[in-house]
Amino acid sequence: MAQFIQFALTRAGMAIVTLLMVSLIVFSLMEMVPGNCAERYLAFKNTQGSQITVADIEAEEKRLGLDRPFLVRWGSWVGNVFFKGDFGDSCILRLNINQLLGDKFLLSLGICLTSLLFAYLIAIPVGIISAASKSAWLNGSLRFISYLGLAMPNFLLALMIMLFSTVMFGDSMTGLFSKEYRDAEWSFDRVKDFLSHAWLPVFILGWSATAFALQTVRALMLDETGKLYITAAKARGLFGRKLLWRYPARHALGPIINSLGFDLNRVFNELPIVAVILTLTEAGALLLESLARSNDQQLAGAIIFLLTASIVTLNFVTDIALAIIDPRVRKSVMGG
C-alpha cells in the first residue's frame, strides 16, 4: 500500500511539472502575439472616438501589470490558475474568462470523452476479432475502413449527415441546444435536449478515433498472439474465445489504457473543425473565434491550457489505473 501511495505521489508530481511546463509554453505563445492587452483595449476605445496617447497605453499597461518582467507575470498567471482557478480577463471581450467559458469547456470535454468511449466500445471487440481471424478479406477491409476514417475529412461526414437530415427530417441538427434551451438553466428537459443534439458530434468525433483505436487494438493483439505463452496455453487445451480473453486481451489492455491520453489529444484536434461545421457553441468554437477573429490571446491561452490539463489529468488517471491492475508497472517506476 505504501508503495502504491508513493507511486501515486510521484506520478502526481510529474503531472504537475508537466503542467507547469505546458503553462510556460502556452504563456510564451501568448506573449509572442504582436501587441498586448493594453494596446488592444485602447485600440478599441480609439474606435469609439476617444483620443489615445502613448502615456495612456503605458498607464493601462501599469494598471494591468504588464510592465513587470516576463517570468514574474508568468508566475502570477500560473499562481492564479493553480490556486484560484482564475484565468484572468479576456482582452477583447473584457469579461472574466471563467465566466465566459462557463460550462462550455465541460461540455466539450464531455463530448470528447464520450466519443473516445464510443470509439473503444467498437474498437476493442472488432480489433480482437480481426486479430484472431485468419481471413485476409476481413482484415483487409477492416484496415481499409479504419484508414478511411483517417483520410476522410471529418467535415465531409458532418456535411453529409447534415444534408441528409435536412432533406429527410427538415432539421439541420446543428448546434448543441434547441433555441429555447440555449440560455436556460440546467434542467431535465435541457439535458434531454442536449443529448438529442450531442450524439452527432460524438459520432463524428468518434468515427476517426475508432479508426485509430482499431489499429492499436489489432496491432497489440497480433503482437501478443505470437508469443510463447499463447502456445503454452493452447497446449494446455485452451482455445477460442476463452483463450483470447484470458491471456492476450489482458496483456494488450495495458498499452491501450496508456494510449488513452494521446487519443484524447487527437480528438481535441478534431474538435474545432467539427465545431465549425456543426456550429456548436462550446470551447472548440470559442477557441476558434478568439483566434481567428480577434487574436484574443488570454482566452486562447486559457482554452489551450485547459485542453492540455485535461490530457495530463487523463494520463495521470490512466497511470494510476494501470498500477492498480498491473503490479509490474508499480515496480518499474519504483526502480525495482
Binding site: M21, G140, P153, F155, N269, E270, A300, G301, I304, L307
Partner: protein, 381 residues
Amino acid sequence: MLAFWGKKQDKAVDQKSKEAYFTASQSQLIWTRFKSNKTAMFAAYVLMFLVLIGLFAPFLSPYDPTIAGRDPDYQNGAPQIPKFCDENGCSVRPFLYTLERSRSIETNFRWVTTENREKRRHLQLFVEGWEYKLFGMKFNTHLFGADEGGIHIFGTDAAGKDIFSRTLHAINTSLAVGTLGVFISFVLALIIGGVSGYFGGVFDGVMQMITDAVRTVPSIPLFMALAAFVPDTWSAEMRFFFISIILGLIGWPTLARRVRTHLLVERNQDYVLAAQLSGASSSHVIRKHLLPSFTSYIIVDLVISFPYMVLSETALSFIGLGLKDPVNSLGVMLQNVTSADVLLNYQWYFIPVIFFITLVLAFVFVGDGLRDAADPYGGHK
C-alpha cells in the same frame, strides 16, 4: 539424370538466394519485404503517380490555376467530359460540343448557355498556352487542350477557375508544405533525439520531460494559436513558409522519441565502444556510426509522419488559419466544398476531395507496408 541436374540447380539457386539474404544491407532487406506486399506496392504506384502529377502540374493543366487563367464565360460550369461517340456518329479523336452564350427576350435578358451539338471541338495534344516555369526553365506547352474555347474536365468554380488545374497545383502545394514540414521536424528530431539518446542520464530525463510536455499539447489548437499570428498582409509565399515551419516545429517530438530509443539501444553496442576507445569524438560516433545504423528506420518514420503533415495542413487551411484562397492547396480546395449550395448544385467541387483521400490513403498504406517491412520480426508471422 535430368532430375538430378534440376535438383542441383535448385540447390545452387537456393544457395545464391541465401547468400543474397545474408549479405543484403538493411535497405535491401526492407525493399525485398516491401515488394512482396501487394497492397503496399499498389499504394506505392498510386503515390508515385500522384507525386508525378504534382510535380508536373503546370504541364498537365491546361489553365493557369490563378485568377489569371479564369474562364469568364464558364463560371460554376459542370465538368466537360470529352466524348468519342454521339448520335451524329463517332470520331477517333475525342471531342466536346461548342457552348454558345446568348440572351434575348425569350431568356428574360439573362445570359443562357446552350450546347451546340452540331459543332464539335476536338481535343488536341501539346497545345501552347499560359507560360510556366519548371525546373528553372520557361515553357508554354501543355499536355492537352481543345480547339476554340475551354476544356474543363473537372468543371470550374465560382470565379471560372479550372478545377482540374487547381487540383493538380493543390497536390503540388500540399506535398511541398508536407515535405518542408517533415524536413524541419526531422532535423529537429535528429538533433534533440540524437543528443538526448546518446548522452542519456539526467540530460535525457530532462529532455524527455520537455518532449512529453510538448507532446501533450493538442497540436491543432496550438497550430491555430501560432497561425493566428500571421498578419493578413503577408503574401501567399510567406504564409506558405510559415505554415510549413509551424508544422515542422510541432511534429518533432514523436520522431525525436523514436530516434532516442534507437540510439539508446545502439550506443551500448560493442562497435560504439570500439570507436570511443579509438578516440573518436561524440559527434563523429553519432554521425558515422550511430545514424547509419538506423537510417532506413528513420526513412520509414518520415513516410509514416507525412500524411499527418498533409492532414494538419488541410485542417489549418480548412479553418481559415492556414493557406488562403488564391493559393491552391488541398485544404483550400476542401474548404470550398463546405457550403450547402455546392453540395446541392455544384457537386464537381468534390473531385479534389477524392484526390485528397486517395493521397492520404496511399501514404498511409505505403507507410504501413514500410513499417512491416522494416520490422525484423515481421517476416516470421
